[in-house]
């Protein structure tokens, strides 16, 4: 986590007062942090555009930044929600949801399903192969289910932390996390 220092508060005040160029300090300091969050959630070729969208949203909502939590937490919230919006739009335009497994991926999935070797999963299949199958399953979940599953199951956030990041109720996150895990299970065992 990146600390919110006193000078940062001063920079934020300057930006709110109209010094647009002062935003460059925040951009330089947090670009790696935002790329890390966004890069895991969206396709490689979309990372730059989504990260840009995150910083634009952050700039526009800077007057609403209360300073109660560190700016890194606030940026993480914007980044996660922007990624969720990206998937919502992508599914609406059927850009990703209709994509099907390639022949290789289908073969791989079949091999994984029929795997009786008892060997370590990671020993038998390469990380890239596993990611392809995971990506296939994630692309078949709704934007909300996908986001919750990534946060809670794959990244290890608690339901409370995920609720804070998404701005949802704790009950909603718990229900969605449970349902999305069931969906992932059925997708991987089809």
């Amino acid at each position: 986590m990146i600390d919110n220092s006193g000078s940062e508060t001063e920079i934020i005040r300057r930006i709110i007062d109209g010094d647009v160029n002062a935003f460059e300090h925040l951009l330089k300091k947090y670009k790696q942090y935002v790329f890390k969050i966004v890069g895991r959630r969206v396709p490689y070729d979309q990372t730059e555009d989504i990260a840009q969208e995150v910083f634009i949203r952050a700039y526009q909502s800077l007057p609403n930044f209360k300073g109660i939590s560190p700016i890194s937490n606030w940026l993480a919230r914007i980044a996660v929600r922007t990624c969720c919006d990206f998937w919502r739009k992508a599914y609406k335009s059927k850009e990703f949801s209709m994509s099907s497994l390639t022949e290789n991926q289908e073969n791989l999935l079949e091999k994984i399903i029929s795997d009786q070797s008892g060997q370590e999963f990671s020993e038998r299949w390469s990380q890239k192969e596993v990611y392809e199958v995971l990506n296939y399953a994630l692309n078949r979940l709704s934007a909300e289910d996908r986001t919750v599953l990534e946060l809670v199951y794959l990244e290890g956030y608690s339901a409370k932390e995920a609720a804070d990041l998404l701005g949802w109720s704790l009950a909603n996150v718990k229900i969605r996390a449970f349902r999305s895990r069931k969906k992932l299970q059925s997708l991987l065992s089809k």
Binding site: E24, F35, K36, E48, Y59, S122, L154, L184
Partner: protein, 101 residues
């Protein structure tokens, strides 16, 4: 298929997810973002949140007025006539403007 709670499968999925190759921010990306931010101009205070603070009060007022109107009835033409008849000075004042027009 192994159940999703299987620690081996879970570890493999998590490792694959975290091992995904991610893009790195370049200097041109930074310039592009700053150009976009500059094109947006200086920030202006967002009044939306301030205005929404009055929403609850406004709704409450509407309810009170609706209840009052339901009780007393709504006859604006009688109210206006009564006001003008009981206020002769006001009537003279208004008629002065009516003559000018």
């Amino acid at each position: 298929m192994k159940p999703l709670d299987d620690a081996k499968l879970k570890d493999a999925l998590i490792a694959a997810y975290h091992g995904k190759k991610t893009a790195e921010p370049g200097i041109y990306w930074e310039i592009k973002v700053m150009n976009h931010i500059r094109s947006l101009g200086p920030l202006q205070y967002d009044m939306t949140g301030f205005v929404w603070r009055f929403a609850a009060g406004a709704c409450f007022l509407v309810l009170i007025l609706s209840a009052y109107v339901m009780q007393t009835g709504f006859h604006p033409e009688y109210e206006m006539t009564e006001l003008l008849l009981n206020d002769s000075e006001g009537l003279a004042f208004l008629s002065y403007f009516a003559n000018i027009i």
